[in-house]
């Protein structure tokens, strides 16, 4: 077993998985514990599978889980680990097209297929405890204003309290489709391991790009792709 540390801000594994916080733990190239699982990701500390970290139970649970993951990988059963964590590399999980999902927006109105059909579609998975998400949601509102009916934008909240989701949605652009993500929806997008994660689909519904996290050039990258798709 080789123990490696990578610095936050310079970790290639974290970048690959769109992990924008710390700590995160990988066994080989499998993400086995994300920052939020230690309760250190976001504004609210203390929630997560291994939180609070300063407790014997959390530390023992992490130790037991980690040993099990190592044993499985050494036994050649990486597929079990990846399935359990649903966090294989982004590339291997990327979806080919916009999934057929049944969504109900925050007002209780079902999302109709014709609202997306023939449009370039952006789907952002976000969370209320994710500061960069707020900025990307504001910017998505601007994109919607700029491109109007040529595009449709779905803002799908994950792992967040409903009242905070509603509060955020109310304070931002009403022209986005706001909804709370359920497990089947998240799974249909290949499982969401980082927020923000932004999917871009062309007018035929084919996946154009997927953006993990909020790198400094996110807006530029998305807008360039969008311009190409809207030509």
């Amino acid at each position: 077993m080789t123990f490696v540390t990578e610095n936050f801000g310079a970790s290639r594994l974290a970048e690959k998985f769109g992990v924008k916080g710390y700590p995160a733990v990988f066994v080989d190239d499998v993400l086995v514990a994300a920052p939020r699982e230690f309760g250190y990701f976001g504004e609210v500390e203390g929630t997560g599978r291994y939180a609070p970290w300063r407790s014997a139970a959390s530390q023992e649970k992490f130790k037991a889980d980690l040993i099990r993951m190592i044993d499985l990988i050494l036994a050649g059963k990486k597929d079990i680990v990846t399935r359990e964590h649903a966090t294989t590399t982004a590339a291997s999980q990327e979806i080919a097209a916009l999934p057929q999902v049944k969504l109900t927006d925050l007002s209780g109105k079902p999302l109709k297929p014709e609202e997306l059909s023939g449009r370039v579609v952006l789907v952002e998975f976000w969370a209320t405890w994710c500061p960069p998400c707020r900025a990307t949601l504001e910017w998505l509102g601007e994109l919607k204003r700029k491109h109007g009916d040529n595009i449709a934008i779905l803002a799908l909240a994950v792992e967040s309290p409903e009242d905070q989701i509603r509060s955020t949605a109310n304070s931002l652009s009403p022209s986005l489709h706001w909804a709370i993500t359920d497990a089947p929806t998240a799974h249909s997008f290949g499982d969401i391991t980082a927020v923000p994660t932004l999917f871009l689909f062309d007018r035929s519904g084919k996946t154009s790009r997927i953006f993990y996290g909020a790198p400094p050039d996110l807006h530029d990258q998305v807008e360039k792709s969008l311009d190409t798709l809207l030509k």
């Binding site: 490696v4 990578e6 916080g21 066994v27 080989d28 050494l74 960069p132 400094p216």
Partner: protein, 368 residues
């Protein structure tokens, strides 16, 4: 991961070092170091930090600089430099927020542009640091310089990570710290100090670091892993820095950080000292001082830790030492100095993993 809580921990760490000095030795303070401390004192007086979030920085930097002067005046040259680094690191971190425009503090494109500029400058300084010739300088001076240099680039990378995951303003503080560390490393490379005639060959300290990491892992069990959480964080981050320095062949810096990690490890079990034990410690420190003074070898790194122990048990202002300071001084005598002398011997073999293996990767903040 919030900046405010991180800064609180950082400030707490500074106060552990405390406002120390005393023991006037009659030595003339090094004029270059004294001038640098006074330059920063003047700069702080002329242009105090005004950002509301960093209001406490002024008094903390002032205290560190006063401590540096007191250490210097009492002949504790290396302790003075440690305190100068604390001041420079903190001041540059806070200053950068005032120097940059609102666009840089709130927008990624402007932040990114500043980051690229800083990255180029720091990469050039890093390159320059690798060419330095330390053959005539005491190992402790080299160690202080290499340690600061080794932190510079990871802090810069962390600044970008923070800016991305929170906001650019949060990342700027660490960009300033990165610049402060590089500036200190450059300054120390210009300080003229004479080394003792006999030197010892610096080498990789990975075998020692590997053993200490194993002992640390074994010690990390409830309830100590919970009760001494902050101490374990300090210990592990020091081990990590030591290893990074070693990999970069900054061996003096790696040796220094290995000894500092040994001190943190010793603190896990150190008991409070009663009056009799305190008295015995004073005698032991005096004996260690005598031994180092008689040495013809460059034992400046051991001297650095002894200076710390001396300052911890005898404050310049006559105030009483805290229980942790007595414990730390005892650990320096009982564990750090023996670790120093043991590491002067040739390295033992590094344990290699055999058979099928996996990589466990931890992504973490660099230094806490």
């Amino acid at each position: 991961m919030r900046t405010a809580s991180r800064l609180c921990k950082f400030f707490l760490a500074l106060t552990i070092f405390g406002a120390l000095p005393a023991l006037i030795s009659g030595q003339v303070p090094n004029p270059q170091i004294k001038a640098e401390i006074e330059r920063l004192q003047h700069s702080l007086k002329e242009k105090p930090v005004s950002d509301a979030d960093f209001a406490s920085v002024n008094s903390m930097v002032d205290d560190a600089l006063k401590g540096a002067i007191e250490a210097l005046n009492s002949g504790k040259l290396y302790l003075g430099l440690e305190k100068l680094l604390q001041a420079e690191d903190l001041l540059q971190g806070a200053r950068i927020l005032e120097e940059k425009s609102e666009a840089v503090k709130s927008g990624f494109p402007a932040f990114e542009s500043e980051w690229e500029k800083a990255s180029k400058n720091l990469a050039a300084l890093d390159q320059e640091a690798r060419q330095r010739n330390w053959t005539r300088a005491p190992v402790a001076l080299q160690a202080l310089s290499e340690s600061a240099q080794g932190k510079s680039i990871p802090l810069l990378e962390g600044s970008r990570g923070f800016a991305t995951s929170t906001k650019p303003r949060d990342g700027l503080f660490y960009m300033g710290q990165a610049q402060g560390n590089a500036a200190f490393a450059k300054f120390t490379s210009t300080v003229s100090l004479t080394r003792s005639p006999a030197s010892f060959p610096l080498r990789s300290y990975l075998p020692e670091l590997q053993k200490l990491q194993e002992k640390t892992n074994a010690a990390f069990k409830p309830p100590r892993s919970i009760e001494l959480h902050s101490r374990f964080i300090a210990l592990n981050s020091t081990l990590k820095l030591a290893e990074e320095l070693d990999i970069q062949k900054f061996y003096a810096g790696a040796f220094y950080q290995y000894l500092e990690a040994s001190r943190h490890f010793g603190m896990l079990d150190a008991s409070p000292l009663d009056a009799t034990q305190q008295s015995a410690l004073k005698t032991d420190i005096a004996a260690a001082r005598k031994k180092l003074a008689a040495s013809r070898q460059d034992d400046s790194l051991a001297q650095l830790f002894l200076e710390r122990a001396e300052s911890q048990i005898a404050h310049a202002d006559g105030s009483a030492s805290a229980a942790d300071e007595w414990r730390s001084a005892r650990v320096i005598l009982d564990q750090v100095l023996p670790a120093y002398f043991a590491a002067l011997k040739p390295a033992s073999q590094i344990l290699q993993a055999s058979g099928k293996t996996v990589d466990i990767t931890l992504v973490r903040w660099p230094y806490t």
